[in-house]
């Protein structure tokens, strides 16, 4: 009896130790190999937008240079910070929002761009920064469901959105202070000049008026989905998403008046493995034909003015930089947001929870 049990014991121990070593060995050998020279990892915002970028920029770049382009999504700021701080950076090029750009610079997360490789002719100097260069000029603004508001009786300004009597229904707003506070101040009669620095108290008081009618969305795709499903009747949604949904047949429409513009920037994370390739990529991405290729497929405006030579008129009508629209829209002060994001966001969250 003892002998048999002894055999069982020892064989169990042997099995355990074998399993253990297999696991350890497995873990060791599945560690990723770093990107070999001749690769590039690009990270953008996913969905239809990134599909457009793939066709217009990523694939042509790969064909032309032979560099293997791997594109990922979505951009995750926490991930970026984790990578840079731990020294194991896997991303080479990232598309950041302008409001985060200043935080990224402050925290030392991105590399300065080499403008001897990156050619910025055609790009307005205001879009060229030390650590990043604008990729697209996007916007968001008033969008509404055409089934809730028949033609002619739709909201045309933020003041209208705040008017619950004439325009009844559920409003959708982004669960961030950026865009939301601007919308509130615009509804309160403030113009671009008086917008910054933002009077947060005034904006929150104005928001109190419709707070009970607001549904808050976080992801861009969620916002447009709510509008299409009529879970919200009107509110703030990103332009590109609305127009894209409209072109695909959804009963939604965008109001250019009092739209709010911001830019996205191409940046290179500090310590990126393929910096040279990254610089070449950004240079390629800024070329007019390539920017036009994106704008044709997804309605965001290019940062390179020369791109308009390649964009047909009917598409140009839908872009924010079109003079018809540009003058009606207001621009985000990304620098102000970069400096004040933290405490304004806390104030906003505190207000949200009341």
């Amino acid at each position: 009896m003892n002998k048999k049990w002894s055999k069982v014991k020892w064989s169990l121990a042997l099995v355990t130790i074998l399993l253990l070593s297999a696991v350890v060995h497995g873990c060791a050998s599945t560690s990723d190999d770093p990107d070999s020279a001749g690769d590039l990892v690009v990270v953008s915002w996913g969905g239809e937008y990134q599909d457009a970028q793939k066709i217009a920029i990523f694939e042509p770049f790969q064909e032309q240079t032979g560099i293997n382009v791997i594109d990922l999504s979505p951009v995750d700021y926490a991930k970026l910070k984790a990578m840079v701080e731990s020294g194991r950076v896997e991303w080479d090029v990232v598309e950041l929002e302008d409001s985060f750009y200043y935080t990224a610079v402050k925290e030392g997360l991105i590399e300065p761009l080499d403008y001897s490789i990156i050619d910025t002719t055609g790009i307005d100097p205001q879009y060229v920064e030390e650590y990043g260069v604008a990729s697209i000029i996007g916007s968001g603004g008033i969008a509404y469901n055409t089934e809730s508001f028949p033609a002619g009786k739709h909201p045309q300004s933020w003041a209208d959105v705040w008017n619950v009597n004439e325009f009844p229904g559920v409003r959708g707003m982004t669960k961030l202070p950026i865009f939301t506070l601007e919308a509130a101040l615009l509804a309160d009669g403030v113009t671009q000049d008086g917008l910054y620095p933002i009077d947060v108290e005034r904006a929150l008081t104005k928001l109190d008026e419709i707070k009970d009618h607001i549904v808050w969305w976080e992801a861009a795709a969620h916002g447009i989905q709510l509008l299409v499903d009529k879970e919200i009747d009107l509110g703030f949604v990103y332009t590109g998403r609305v127009l894209d949904a409209r072109d695909k047949g959804a009963p939604v429409e965008f109001v250019w008046n009092q739209g709010i513009c911001g830019t996205n920037l191409w940046v290179i994370p500090k310590g990126a493995p393929n910096k040279e390739n990254a610089m070449k990529f950004i240079n390629f991405a800024l070329l007019p034909e390539n920017q036009a290729g994106v704008s044709i497929r997804f309605p965001y405006a290019p940062s390179n003015e020369k791109a308009f030579e390649f964009i047909p008129d009917n598409v140009a009508n839908d872009l924010a930089t079109n003079p018809d629209h540009w003058n009606k829209m207001i621009r985000i002060d990304a620098e102000w947001w970069g400096e004040n994001w933290d405490h304004v966001y806390e104030q906003f969250i505190a207000w949200l929870m009341e």
Binding site: T16, V23, Y77
Partner: protein, 299 residues
């Protein structure tokens, strides 16, 4: 082993007290080798990250209590913590009241029926939480199932706003956590000898009295196990309150998420996480003191 010991004459060189013998110790506690994989796994993937998070909350970069001070002095954070506890306690009580009769019924029915009923309880348990949460969204949203039915029946004129309220959060979380209350309750209840109840009746007690004096006290370990499980899990719950609730229903988990992903303030997020951990440990210790550790595992 025996050879080693006799070879080096260890036994006579180092006479051990209480007749402790390495040989018998090894023979009796052999199972410890089998524990090595699990212990290593837990050490690397659980203990180490936990220590990292604790150190992140206290060292930023040098020793500081600023995160904890910020936490205690800012009203929204204390309000969120209070909110979280309030919602978790409500859910625990509601789940308890809903599960108790179900668990009792499970002990009374025939085996075949019981297997079918257990299947109904366990199947949703195995479906992903995210999918179940989305199912509630489909049911409760403005033009979702509930509203459309009521609208078509003419009961209401405009859709009820069921989503993004405390109601929707509590319903969603209760639905998801019910099996976790039913199963421990059932586990303890089926061990209660029904002859005690019969004895109570035979001594003249009413069913009501029997329940209060005999059945309920015997089921308390199950109540303790189920409630502590449900409560601790609801404290840390993220997906359901995030999707079904409005910002007014913000819970600690959502705050931590915001601090990690949008504020990138990991020191503060770690402090929040430590508070959550401390609360959990405190509850665990309270249960241990009041009811004894064996009882928590149905002993």
């Amino acid at each position: 082993m025996k050879n080693l010991l006799t070879c080096f004459n260890l036994k006579s060189r180092f006479p051990l007290k209480n007749h402790f013998s390495l040989d018998t110790f090894f023979n009796q506690h052999f199972y410890m080798i089998l524990l090595i994989p699990s212990v290593l796994f837990l050490a690397v993937f659980f203990a180490y990250p936990l220590i990292r998070i604790a150190s992140m909350s206290f060292f930023d970069p040098s020793f500081t209590l600023k995160h904890y001070i910020h936490l205690i002095t800012t009203p929204i954070y204390t309000r969120t913590i209070f909110n979280t506890f309030y919602i978790s306690i409500s859910i625990t009580i509601i789940t308890l009241f809903m599960s108790y009769p179900v668990a009792y019924m499970l002990t009374e029915v025939r085996d075949r029926t019981r297997n079918v009923l257990l299947l109904f309880i366990l199947l949703p348990f195995w479906v992903s939480i995210l999918i179940r949460t989305f199912a509630w969204i489909v049911l409760l949203q403005r033009y979702g199932v509930v509203n459309t039915i009521l609208l078509d029946l003419g009961v209401i004129d405009t859709p009820l706003s069921l989503m993004y309220t405390r109601f929707s959060v509590i319903i969603g979380m209760t639905h998801i956590l019910l099996p976790l209350m039913i199963l421990p309750l059932y586990g303890v209840m089926k061990g209660i000898d029904k002859s005690y109840l019969r004895a109570s009746y035979s001594l003249g007690a009413s069913p009501y009295r029997t329940f209060l004096s005999v059945f309920f006290p015997l089921s308390l370990p199950g109540v303790a196990a189920g409630s502590s499980l449900v409560f601790i899990i609801s404290l840390g719950f993220f997906i359901t309150p995030a999707l079904l609730g409005s910002p007014r229903e913000m819970m600690i988990s959502m705050l931590i998420d915001m601090q990690v992903r949008q504020f990138l303030n990991w020191g503060f997020a770690s402090a929040l996480a430590m508070i959550l951990l401390l609360a959990t440990i405190a509850i665990f210790l309270a249960y241990r003191r009041v009811l004894g550790i064996e009882r928590m595992f149905g002993g």
